[in-house]
């Protein structure tokens, strides 16, 4: 089971945040097919949000074929999003961490690191498309 949290300053609507958190957990393999999502009542009682917000998020996840609701039981994960198996992510993460150390010792602060990453990511994606 996962637990949702909301960032009220992110500018992302609460229902989008729930969708993103589920997708994120699926991508990282934290959630796998068969796992249950928290019930609407539980989410609402922890986050003090409108029940329709949760229902809307779950409906969207259902539409993208990631979860399915079983009436009276709950909502369950039906698909996975982690295209690279978890095992492949470990060395990648380690490499990234080594790179972060290098970037810091080169004098980059967090903001510059993020900007550099985003920029390289964008230009790499642009190359892929071209």
């Amino acid at each position: 089971m996962i637990e949702f949290h909301l960032d009220s300053r992110s500018g992302v609507s609460p229902y989008q945040q729930i969708v993103q958190q589920v997708r994120h957990a699926l991508r990282l393999g934290v959630l796998e097919p068969g796992d249950q999502l928290p019930t609407v009542k539980d989410v609402v009682a922890t986050l003090a949000i409108n029940p329709n917000t949760v229902l809307k998020a779950y409906r969207e996840l259902e539409h993208s074929g990631l979860v399915a609701g079983r009436p009276g039981v709950g909502t369950f994960v039906t698909a996975s999003l982690s295209d690279a198996p978890l095992a492949a992510q470990v060395p990648l993460r380690r490499e990234l961490e080594r790179w972060l150390v290098k970037a810091r010792s080169a004098g980059l602060d967090d903001e510059s690191i993020e900007a550099l990453f985003r920029d390289s990511f964008r230009s790499a994606s642009a190359r892929d498309i071209a």
Binding site: S8, S13, V44, A45, T46, I49, T53
Partner: protein, 298 residues
């Protein structure tokens, strides 16, 4: 389909002063509707009209499918929690539950008992000795145990600290998730209502400025800014809610059903608070002048 609230041309005046005027609003059943506006905007007046504690001076109103407080059955359908969670200071928690059971034909004894245990209230404690948060939870328990179809809450969290505020709204939201009742709650702080409401009614100067589904409302409002220009020449599908000019720049909050197409503008999404503040900022145009619509050349 029965609506939680249908008001048509509703108004209430005290002496010569209108506390609420031209109020035409419909709220569907199952909504959690937030009633926001500055102090004195007419929020309490509207809630008191809905509860049947005040009679309209003009117009008509139905709550949960009937006129407010018209008979005993209707009284049972609508719960009302007045400002500052009123409880009887000298009565104990258990006395309150007995009193509630006596006064309400649809009283749910098991639910009341369960909730008092869940929120850790000592039945022998006098209500006057409870903390603000506990008092609010006790009042909410009584309001819910009467099993209303529509619950009206007047500034329920205004006097609570942030934790108690959160716990109160969480308890309310959980009850709504389970029982699907309609709720109308007021606050002069949008931030309190932002998460829990899916419908917003904005009152200002005794009038309804906005009454809409929260997601729709957010999708339809944008902040646009760019080099200074005359807003009268904006395309007709943009309605200016608020605007501000410096010698170089123009900033505006606009309402639109479609995208903002003019590339001269930078566009930002707004939070609920931004939208509410824009409407309360006052420079709204009552009657937008006729303007050409900007389209895409195909």
């Amino acid at each position: 389909m029965i609506s939680a609230l249908t008001a048509t041309g509703l108004g209430k005046c005290f002496g010569r002063k209108w506390a609420l005027r031209d109020c035409t609003v419909e709220i569907e059943q199952g909504r959690v509707a937030g009633l926001v506006g500055p102090n004195g905007a007419g929020k309490s007046t509207l809630l008191n009209l809905m509860a049947g504690l005040l009679a309209p001076s003009e117009g008509s109103l139905e709550v949960a499918g009937n006129r407010p407080a018209i008979d005993e059955e209707q009284l049972g359908r609508v719960g009302f929690l007045a400002q500052d969670s009123p409880v009887y200071a000298s009565l104990t928690v258990a006395d309150h539950l007995r009193f509630g059971a006596h006064m309400n034909p649809r009283w749910d004894r098991a639910f009341a008992q369960e909730r008092v245990t869940a929120i850790d209230l000592d039945p022998k404690q006098r209500a006057g000795k409870l903390s603000g948060g506990q008092r609010a939870q006790l009042a909410l328990t009584i309001a819910l145990a009467k099993r209303p179809e529509l619950l009206l809450l007047d500034e329920p969290v205004a006097s609570l600290d942030p934790l108690a505020r959160r716990e109160f709204l969480a308890a309310l939201a959980a009850y709504v998730a389970e029982h699907g009742i309609s709720v109308v709650l007021s606050s002069h702080l949008v931030a309190d209502l932002e998460r829990v409401c899916d419908f917003l009614v904005l009152l200002s100067a005794a009038r309804v400025q906005l009454a809409e589904d929260v997601d729709t409302l957010l999708a339809r409002h944008r902040r646009i800014f760019g080099p200074r220009r005359d807003l009268d020449r904006l395309p007709s599908d943009l309605r200016v809610v608020w605007s501000s000019h410096t010698d170089k720049q123009t900033t505006a909050v606009v309402r639109t059903d479609g995208p903002v197409l003019d590339p001269a503008w930078q566009i930002e999404e707004l939070t609920l608070e931004d939208v509410v503040l824009a409407y309360m900022g006052g420079s709204a145009e009552a009657e937008p002048p006729a303007r050409p619509k900007l389209g895409v050349a195909r």
